[in-house]
Each structure stands twice: as structure tokens, then as C-alpha cells.
């Protein structure tokens, strides 16, 4: 059979398509974006009528997924790890309602924080919600788990989480397809109370979830994603979760590990398998990407049994991504080294692109803020967060999606004046609108800059839900029309824009300034496409 070269993310997408998916719901976020993009670009998915338009945020995506599951079809919801915080209310409660059509939730973690504000481990969320978690080792497993996950979800009537990390999400390898499962027909849940979480009904549903736990665990033991490989040297047993298994076998000739190894790809953690490993060996080393979830369970509070080594105990670093060298070190094997990196090398942090509209927006803002000094500008998550770095150094915060506006409100309530919020167009519709309503209701004096580059820039130019709607939204929320100002961020308009900035910053109420100019990346992509089409017409 032919293998197709796919990113881990794309393998999840294709696995879900072949597994009978009817809709993917997501908000872009590195390293999860390519899952939805693959489905959007897939001709097959289009022919099958699979829904794939972006959602406004992860919570709306999650709830839409629950709605599709309610109506009996198979749905997948995708997000980056911190997106799951946004979706958490819906996610946690979806475990209580259970599913009708299969429901898979993909959370893509970013250990080492390549493109994120933290490295939280989504497995804790899966455990918290008490649902099965699948964690692929490689691209083929990513495909298999998405395919299997939709079926597993229907089998147990519960959502299933797939946890993937950056390295697998963004690494390509060959994947073999399975036979496509047809989509479900729409059908309502048999029990009309299933999705009503009124206390009396929720208690019943919750005890139903508790009752399923042992079945989840026995599926972990038998589904084939947790595998025991015996080894002759019983001085050590190794538990390798997800892609850490690759880093382990990379260190041995032909991948032959002398120690017994339990490879974990499905949770709840298979306690019988862990127990038989524990009984057979002198000590255990736990390899896991992210936080020491399995290690902590094994050690327990008192840590009285055999020695358990890992990220918590210190054989491996507590933070950051693992790699083959770190695993070699933990195994006491010689660690290969290359040349020393010469001191002449300088750091090269990411920067805003040449011609980026944000540069002009921030240069005017920096001038407007000169009389007040640093400490007044609350920002948000997107390309514009790079304005924290040299040479701009314009902003003073970046916490979570939407926090710019609400932090400005809180600081204004403490007496900070002026209090400025800077947020992108897509982040504004993702999580900024409710904060703006707070500002209007509380009647605080803040100035909100909604940097409108007409796209979700940082993740590669996806459609922004805010497109063409920002002024109407602000008006609808109650911002006075006279204080909604649209400017074009261009160097030649600097003085004109600065005057508007100063005026609105001086206004004692809620004002919104919308610097509007298209992202240079999407603009150049559009121009190239245009030229290409023109050439082909000739």
C-alpha cells in the first residue's frame, strides 16, 4: 500500500476523515492549526461535506462539537493546549453529558514553549475530566488514534482526548490509510435528558461516568496502544509515554532496548501493566513529554516503594522538551557531542515583518505614550506581542487571549491613567468583546487599540471572524460612535494618527482606535496568487 507523507497534525486530520468525521471545529493555534487546515484543503473532505470553517474561539468550537455529537454525527475539536483553558467549561461538562455521535478533542501541547506562553500538559485535563486519552508515538499512530478515537468515543458514549506535542505535530513521515468509515446519519440521543445537566440529572450522568472508569482502563490494557516489550536486564524498567519512546529506542542499535519497556499511548494509565513491570524490575525510569504525570502517580506522596526516576526525581529536566541526548543521559549512556558553538554567534529572536502595519501602529503609540512613561500598555496574544522586544518595547503585558482589555479595566479601576489595551482583530472577537462590554458597563477610562490586519497573522493567515465587523461590534457593545476611530497605520500618516491617538487617550471614557491595514504576508500571498491566475489565463 502507498504511504502518504504527512505531518503529525495532517495524519490526525486524515485519520478523522477516514474514521467517519462530519465536522472539525477549531480556532487556530500553534501547533494544532494544520489539522483543520488539512481538512479545509482536502478535496475528499469537501466532497464528503465535512464542515471545517474556523470557530471564533476554542469554547465555541468545543460547544459546536458537542452539538454535532448530540445530533448523532462524529465531530473533532482541535486546539492548542492553552486553548483548552478557554474551552474548559464545555470540555469538562462534555465528559458528564457523554456523547451521542463520536467526539474527539485534540489538544496540541507545546513543551519548550516554542510558540506559547506556558507548557501545560493536557493529559491532566483528560484525567481531570476522567475520559480516555490517546497519545501517539508517531505519524502512523496519530492517524490510527484519530480513526480509532471516534469509534472509541461512540463505543463508550464519552469524549476522547488526543494529546499531541509540537515535535510530532510538525514532523512529517509516511502514513498508510485504512478503509473509510461512512459518516453517521443525523439521529438524536435516545435519552432526552442526556444533555441536560440540571443537578438531579447531572448526578446521574456523573455516576454514569464514574461507572465507566474501569471499562476505560481495560480498554487501555487491550486496545493495543499500550505495549509491553520484555528485556533481559531487569535492573531497570522503562515507561515511555507517547513520542518519548522514539527517543528511547534511538539510543540502541536496531532499537533493541535491553530493559523491559512499557510504551504508553492510551490512558487511563494501565495499572495492571504498570504493576507487572514494577514487580519485574529493580527501579523504574519514566519518560514523558510535559509534566511528570505518570511519574507522580507511581511515586505517590510518600514514595516508599522502589526507586522511580524521571522529571520529578531529577534524572530528566523538569521543564522543556525531551530529546535523544537527554534520554541517553538518564540511562547513564555516553552522550554524543558535536563542536562547541562559537561565541561569535548572536541570538536572532523573531521580529515583525518588514512593512508590517503593527510597526507603524506601535511607533505612533510609543510617541503618544512618551509623556506617561512605561507601564500603561496591556497587550494580548498575536504577532503584535513581538512589540515587547527591541526596538519597539511598547507593551507591558501578555497573559492570555483577551486579557489586554480586562487588565486595562482592572488597572484603570486602581487609578492607572491612561490605561491602554492593544489587541488584534481576531483576538478581539476570540475573547476581547466581553471585556469591552465590562469596560462600557463599568464606565472606566481606557483606550483600546484593535489592530486590524484582517487575518489571524501569527498562525499563518487564517480567516478572522472579526473581518468587516469590528466597528459594528464596538457600537453594539455601547462604545460611543464618536470614540470609535479608524486609522491607516502608515509611516507617512504618523503625525495625523498620533494626533488621533492623543485625543482618544485624553478622553475620559471608553474609546476604541482601529489601525487597519492588511497583513503583509497575506497581502503578498494574494498578489502572488493573482499573478499566477493571470499567467494561467494567458
Amino acid at each position: 500500500m502507498n504511504k502518504i507523507l504527512l505531518l503529525g497534525d495532517e495524519a490526525i486530520a486524515l485519520g478523522a476523515i477516514d474514521g467517519g468525521l462530519s465536522g472539525v471545529f477549531a480556532y487556530p493555534g500553534t501547533p494544532s492549526t494544520e489539522i483543520t487546515e488539512y481538512i479545509q484543503a482536502s478535496k475528499e473532505a469537501k466532497a464528503l461535506g465535512i464542515k471545517s470553517e474556523w470557530s471564533t474561539n476554542e469554547k465555541t468550537a468545543m460547544e459546536t462539537g458537542i452539538g454535532m455529537s448530540y445530533a448523532g454525527k462524529k465531530a473533532m475539536v482541535c486546539m492548542k493546549h492553552v486553548g483548552l483553558n478557554v474551552a474548559a467549561d464545555a470540555f469538562m461538562n462534555s465528559a458528564i453529558t457523554g456523547t451521542n455521535g463520536g467526539l474527539v478533542v485534540v489538544s496540541a501541547d507545546d513543551p519548550s514553549m516554542h510558540s506559547s506562553q506556558n507548557e501545560q500538559d493536557s493529559r491532566f485535563y483528560g484525567k481531570f475530566a476522567m475520559i480516555p486519552i490517546l497519545e501517539p508515538t508517531n505519524q502512523q499512530e496519530a492517524y490510527n488514534m484519530a480513526y480509532y478515537g471516534l469509534t472509541l468515543s461512540e463505543k463508550f458514549g464519552t469524549p476522547v482526548m488526543i494529546r499531541v506535542t509540537t515535535r510530532l505535530a510538525h514532523s512529517r513521515s509516511g502514513v498508510e490509510r485504512k478503509e473509510r468509515i461512512p459518516q453517521n446519519k443525523m439521529h438524536l440521543p435516545g435519552d432526552h435528558n442526556q444533555f441536560i445537566l440540571l443537578p438531579a440529572m447531572a448526578r446521574k450522568s456523573y455516576s454514569g461516568l464514574l461507572g465507566k472508569q474501569s471499562a476505560f482502563e481495560s480498554d487501555s490494557e487491550t486496545a493495543g496502544f499500550n505495549t509491553f516489550y520484555d528485556g533481559d536486564d531487569k535492573s531497570l524498567g522503562i515507561i515511555a509515554c507517547g513520542l518519548t519512546y522514539n527517543y528511547l529506542i534511538e539510543n540502541f542499535e536496531e532499537g533493541k532496548v535491553p530493559y523491559p519497556v512499557l510504551k504508553i499511548g492510551q490512558y487511563p494509565t494501565p495499572s495492571a501493566m504498570v504493576n507487572s513491570l514494577y514487580e519485574a524490575v529493580d527501579e523504574i525510569l519514566v519518560l514523558e513529554e510535559g509534566a511528570p504525570l505518570v511519574e507522580e502517580m507511581l511515586r505517590g506522596l510518600l514514595n516508599k516503594g522502589k526507586k522511580i526516576r524521571g522529571r520529578m526525581e531529577g534524572s530528566l529536566p523538569r521543564a522543556g522538551e525531551l530529546n535523544p541526548n537527554l534520554v541517553a543521559q538518564a540511562l547513564g549512556m555516553p552522550v554524543s557531542e558535536g563542536y562547541e558553538i562559537p561565541s561569535v554567534i548572536k541570538g536572532r529572536p523573531p521580529v515583525l515583518c518588514d512593512g508590517c502595519p503593527h510597526i507603524d501602529s506601535f511607533e505612533a503609540l510609543n510617541d503618544a505614550m512618551k509623556p506617561f512613561g512605561r507601564g500603561h500598555v496591556f497587550s494580548d496574544i498575536g504577532c503584535y506581542t513581538l512589540s515587547a522586544l527591541k526596538p519597539l518595547e511598547s507593551i507591558d503585558s501578555c497573559v492570555d487571549m483577551g486579557a489586554s482589555i480586562t487588565m486595562a479595566v482592572g488597572a484603570a479601576e486602581s487609578g492607572l491613567s491612561p490605561a491602554i489595551a492593544v489587541i488584534g482583530d481576531s483576538t478581539f472577537t476570540h475573547s476581547g468583546m466581553t471585556g469591552l462590554l465590562d469596560a462600557v458597563v463599568k464606565q472606566v477610562a481606557i483606550t483600546v487599540f484593535i489592530l486590524d490586519n484582517a487575518t489571524v497573522g501569527m498562525t499563518g493567515g487564517q480567516r478572522s471572524a472579526a473581518l468587516g465587523r469590528i466597528e459594528d461590534i464596538c457600537k453594539g457593545i455601547g462604545v460611543e460612535e464618536a470614540h470609535i476611530r479608524v486609522v491607516k497605520p502608515l509611516r507617512r500618516l504618523h503625525d495625523e494618527n498620533l494626533a488621533i491617538y492623543e485625543e482618544e487617550i485624553a478622553y475620559n471614557g471608553v474609546s476604541v482606535i482601529i489601525p487597519r491595514r492588511e497583513c503583509v504576508q497575506t497581502l503578498s500571498k494574494r498578489m502572488k496568487l493573482k499573478a499566477f491566475e493571470k499567467r494561467n489565463k494567458k
Binding site: L5, L7, T30, P31, T33, E34, H114, S115, R167, L168, H170, S171, R172, S173, G174, L243, N246, Y247, I249, E250, N251, G255, N323, P324, N325, A328, V335, S336, E337, G338, Y339, E340, I341, P342, V344, I345, K346, G347, R348, P349, P350, V351, L352, C353, C383, L386, K390, M458, T459, G460
Partner: protein, 200 residues
């Protein structure tokens, strides 16, 4: 498709976000698949793409590949489209056998960028390297935009794949862009390849 008895090449690709190291990776990857080899290619997406340093790990082998990441000190090659970026990954290079292939054209988007002399001095200390003025060579081939393919050509003698496989890969990857672009890139490949043959 033909059978390699035993082959394994671990390649680090380095450059600056937007310089298109993934085109090089895709071309080598396509050539490797044409020869029926296994492949893993770890890429960089997201924030770090914006003008910052970027790297990709490309692994090709006649046997299944485990790790998506190459271990430090185990890379057979560092291929870079920028001289300072090539040195950023020398810790990954195998000291017994590793080759460093890089463009000599600096990409200066930071205030404290070192002098090109200092960079070349460090590169030329290595036992195995190819440094090439990729921009000038690309211009000679027809367009400065083929600088990537010049570097690929310069790396080609050390990768262990057939030269024809690279040609075939370029034809496949640039198929949509028309014959002129394909031929220009084939010329760039050849010029890079010849340069490396002469200067190794």
C-alpha cells in the same frame, strides 16, 4: 525506485524564517522517497517563523527511523542558507564525519550581527565544509531566488542520493511554475553541485 543496501543521513537545515529552508527539505525528502527510503522531517511553524532563527531536522534511511529529532553530535550534515545560522548548529554535527554546507551571504536583521570575516574564520576551522556565494551563483543561474537550490546543489554530493533523483524532485516540486522556472532551478542545482565537487 532502487534499493540501497544501507544508508542513513541525518541532516540539520538552518536559516532565518522566510528564507525557505523547507523547500530544500522538501526537495531532499522527495528525492529520498523516489529512491524508496524512509523519511522523517521535523519542521518549524508558528511564532519562530517571523524573521527569527529556524531549523529543521531531516532524516533519511534505508531502515525505519525512530526519533523525529537528531541527537546532538550525530548529524551527518548541517545545510544552511545563512553563515551565522550554520554555526548555530555545529553542536549537532558529528565530529568524525560531519559536513557543513553554507551560503556565505549574511542575513542581517539584528543590530549586533558579527562580521562575515569572523564567521568565515570559525567555519573554516572545521575539517569538512563548503562555503559558497549562493546569491551570486544564483544570479548567474538566472535568479537570486534560486539561492536555496544552489545550496542544495552544493550539499548534493554528500547526501548519498543519486543526482538524477534531485533533478526529478525539482521537476515535481516546481511543476506548477512552468518549464522556465524548472530549467533555471536545474541549472542552479548543477552549478551548486559542480562548485562543491571542485571545492571539497
Amino acid at each position: 525506485m532502487h534499493n540501497h543496501k544501507q544508508m542513513k543521513k541525518d541532516i540539520i537545515l538552518g536559516g532565518v524564517g522566510g528564507q525557505g529552508i523547507l523547500t530544500i527539505a522538501t526537495t531532499i525528502g522527495t528525492a529520498a522517497l523516489l529512491e524508496g527510503l524512509y523519511l522523517k522531517q521535523s519542521e518549524v511553524h508558528g511564532m519562530s517563523q517571523r524573521g527569527g532563527d529556524v531549523q529543521a531536522h531531516l532524516r533519511i534511511s534505508s531502515k525505519p527511523i525512530a526519533s523525529d529529532l537528531i541527537a546532538a553530535g550525530k548529524a551527518d550534515m548541517v545545510i544552511s542558507v545563512e553563515p551565522m545560522e550554520s554555526l548555530r548548529y555545529v553542536n549537532m554535527l558529528n565530529k568524525e564525519s560531519g559536513w557543513l554546507i553554507t551560503s556565505m551571504n549574511p542575513f542581517k536583521n539584528i543590530p549586533d550581527y558579527p562580521t562575515i570575516e569572523d564567521l568565515l574564520k570559525e567555519i573554516w576551522k572545521l575539517p569538512r565544509y563548503i562555503t559558497i556565494d549562493a546569491e551570486k551563483t544564483a544570479k548567474d543561474a538566472g535568479s537570486i531566488r534560486a539561492a536555496n537550490i544552489i545550496i542544495l546543489g552544493a550539499a548534493a554530493p554528500f547526501i548519498g542520493l543519486k543526482y538524477e533523483s534531485f533533478e526529478q524532485a525539482i521537476r515535481a516540486i516546481f511543476a506548477k511554475k512552468g518549464d522556465d522556472i524548472i530549467n533555471m532551478n536545474l541549472k542552479a542545482l548543477k552549478m551548486g553541485f559542480d562548485y562543491a565537487q571542485k571545492h571539497q
